[in-house]
Subunit: 468 residues, 2 copies
């Protein structure tokens, strides 16, 4: 019998606890209970923190309690990072103290050996008996940027997050703060959850939780195994109509499936089967680890396109062909500008009127580039045959167009009712990064590669279609 069939407790206490007990070592260093307390404080956690360890009196000016039963107040969530052998005992203590939600960071369970697997079974049994829900074991934990809940066990060098609608869930700690430079992302994060060995809470639970979590607007999932394929697809089908669900599945090759410790009842892992399942359930399939973090930004702020016709503005013909190619792979077509709008283009320049718009040859003939550029972007976006815009920006070494670009994006912010995705290229990484950052500050996503821009528009368009 599945643990989940027995209990469907709300996961709210995991992400919105009023109080958290941290059970671990509080020795200063880069890993452990000390870092968890430091991280919670630095992130401005809005609840109470109760460090627990009989060997300490104080950590970071907080009182350390000898045991959970010494805490007089209600504890909503416990975070356990002690030796695997002692975890079961602590879970029992949680039960006695009416703590219903526990994150088991500790490793050395089923992922390690037979003895660990036995400990994990015991852990599940005790938790079930005590009416406790568990995330983990063997997890780097959870984050909620909204209330400053960042109990990261590793010192990531940063603690708070830019708040945003994107929630990420995985079976690897590679999504947790110590492994990814969230401050360098152009958008905000909502919640993070590493499911670890998922002895209890699994991807189905998290997907349902995110479904009902109002502050989560975009869901991004890294899936290794799927505990209950039928249930997962059923939930996914429902959630995908409300919020975009991006899914990266590893272990889709025969060899990969073998490498991933596959569980009973796993969803068939074949690449094509997973692809078909994604389509049916409305999941938006992503293929690369970096897309897990970067792809959500196109859903965080851009309006949904009404169709699949893309307008392209660029400084080079080469990118045009590349965009068309990549677009065809993602169900997009090159927009054909409307007859009426062609007149508008011709007024701007005799050589304009076809898509992609190649600005390169025109520049030498232009007097006021700023006015010229802004007019072109407006004309493309205003075209009734254009559903989205792929804008390619050349950040040249002398920065001669910089102010024109920024003015245009500032205006776009006001009048763009269609999604705009940007690629910036140029002879200096420092200059292109700075330009990308400025464009993202206006609320428009920028991707590092032209293909990713097109794919982002493709996924956004697919999501919009699914919703209609």
């Amino acid at each position: 019998m599945n643990f989940n069939e027995l209990k469907k407790t709300d996961l709210n206490p995991f992400f919105e606890p009023k109080s958290i007990a941290v059970i671990g070592s509080f020795r200063e260093g880069g890993f452990g209970g000390y870092v968890v307390v430091k991280s919670l404080m630095e992130a401005g956690f809005d609840g109470k923190i109760f460090p627990v360890n009989p060997g300490y009196q104080e950590v970071l000016k907080l009182k350390v309690y000898p045991s959970l039963s010494d805490i007089a107040e209600q504890v909503d969530l416990a975070l356990v990072m002690i030796n695997a052998r002692n975890v079961v005992r602590i879970i029992e203590e949680c039960g006695r103290n009416h703590i219903g939600s526990v994150v088991v960071v500790a490793d050395g369970f089923a992922e390690k050996d037979e003895e660990g697997a036995r400990l994990q079974r015991e852990l599940v049994e005790v938790a079930r008996r005590c009416d406790i829900r568990i995330i983990g074991p063997n997890t780097a934990g959870i984050v909620n940027s909204v209330n400053g809940l960042n109990p990261c066990p590793y010192d990531a060098g940063y603690y708070g997050f830019k708040k945003g609608p994107v929630s990420i869930c995985s079976q690897t700690g590679m999504i947790n703060p110590q492994a990814y430079a969230y401050p360098d992302l152009g958008f905000g994060i909502n919640k993070i959850c590493d499911l670890g060995n998922k002895c209890d809470v699994n991807e189905c639970d998290m997907l349902e939780y995110f479904e009902n979590d109002d502050s989560t607007g975009v869901i991004s999932m890294y899936l290794e195994s799927i505990s209950d394929g039928t249930r997962f697809l059923e939930i996914a089908r429902r959630v995908s109509k409300k919020k975009p669900v991006l899914a990266l599945k590893v272990g889709t090759t025969k060899a990969g499936a073998k490498a991933s410790a596959s569980h009973t009842g796993s969803l068939a892992v074949d690449d094509a089967v997973f692809g078909a399942a994604c389509s049916q359930a409305g999941l938006l399939r992503i293929d690369k680890f970096s897309e897990l973090f970067e792809m959500p930004k196109v859903f965080a702020g851009q309006p949904l396109p009404l169709g699949n016709r893309v307008g392209v503005v660029s400084f080079t013909g080469g990118v045009g062909v590349l965009a068309v190619d990549e677009g065809a792979r993602h169900g997009l077509v090159l927009a054909e500008f409307s007859a009426e709008n062609k007149k508008v283009f011709k007024e701007i320049s005799e050589d304009l009127g076809t898509n992609p718009v190649d600005l390169g040859p025109l520049i030498p003939t232009v007097k006021d580039f700023s006015v010229f550029y802004s007019r072109i972007l407006k004309a493309v976006l205003a075209d009734e045959n254009v559903d989205s815009l792929f804008n390619v920006v050349w950040a040249d070494a002398l920065g001669k167009n910089t102010s024109a670009y920024l003015e245009a994006y500032e205006e776009l912010k006001e009048y763009a009712r269609k999604p705009v995705v940007t690629w910036v290229y140029g002879p200096s990484s420092a200059i292109t990064s700075e330009m990308a950052k400025k464009i993202e500050d206006f609320g428009f996503p920028v991707f590092r590669e032209p293909e990713t821009c097109i794919k982002a528009i493709g996924l956004l368009t697919r999501y919009a279609n699914g919703k209609r």
Copy 2:
């Protein structure tokens, strides 16, 4: 009849001219003859520079000649950046002055309109009559880092290059200095050639030129159309046995092919057909624009693997599954460590001995990480069942492993006889970039994404197989 069938002049004067005439405007600014002269001087061009324009006396302290016939010395190469309408006349002048090689930067030819196409036909006719070879028109030109030949018509903010074995050729100016941050690449560049409209010199000619160019060790090509498919594959088959040839083909979808102005005799553009042709000819197919620049670095310095068995060292199990998955897509398998070597692993730690090597759970038990880490890398590389190493480095916020990593790579430099490809991840882009740079300074390629690392090993392995 094909121009190429008539003339097979050596392309040497394009890349190793003793003297170059620059025909254009010398007004100070970000584009034009002025920039070309500045760029050649800054890059330390080792030949003579002859600016030509009747309207100027001097540019950057160089005498400007009224016309080509006023130059008393032999001119090997001319670079033409004047109005399309005047180009034919200049080509005739080149002919009268025995200049056999001309780069026509000027645009406004076949890529523009019917009148331009007519001008281009005239250009070809005159060039043929005068025994002149042409690169372009509508090109951002060429580069040879070895002799400082960088006549880039756009001010890229940098002029010289780190010298290396990689030569790049395309039909778009997106590979030229003004469009790509070559100084930020971890390896050196040899030659760059934008073929533009390729009215004469085409991808076949360039591939043959690179074949016989001793200083080119790796060839990377961006192909839009292929002028003569049969000839191209014939040359590719031959060159691929000597040097790796990476090929990115755009216009492989129906829509993309339509967008690309396809020429008579073009190679069939279908994706699968191109893939099959690549395999047969030994071409190493790449799929993304960024790979054109980044993928060559695995061929520039790494030894060739003897087989397809990959050892993986990582700080997280998640990357292992991902690596196996991606490996399967590129013909790689996870190495099974030899029985003998397993003993060596067990001596280092009881928990070692299986591939991928997951260091994460071991770290807390390790006293001297530096010694431990170096021993593990050596043991993996020494294993007779391992042909290449994918090493995943966690650059943590506190930099506590930094010196251990760097010492290990310094040692690797001495004893690694198998390719090592690295991915660096961590909580700060600044820290991961710095670590990546340091590792590349030891001569080991680092890629921004784990999938690219695996693909790089896959392509290297395929090339090694093809050579055997």
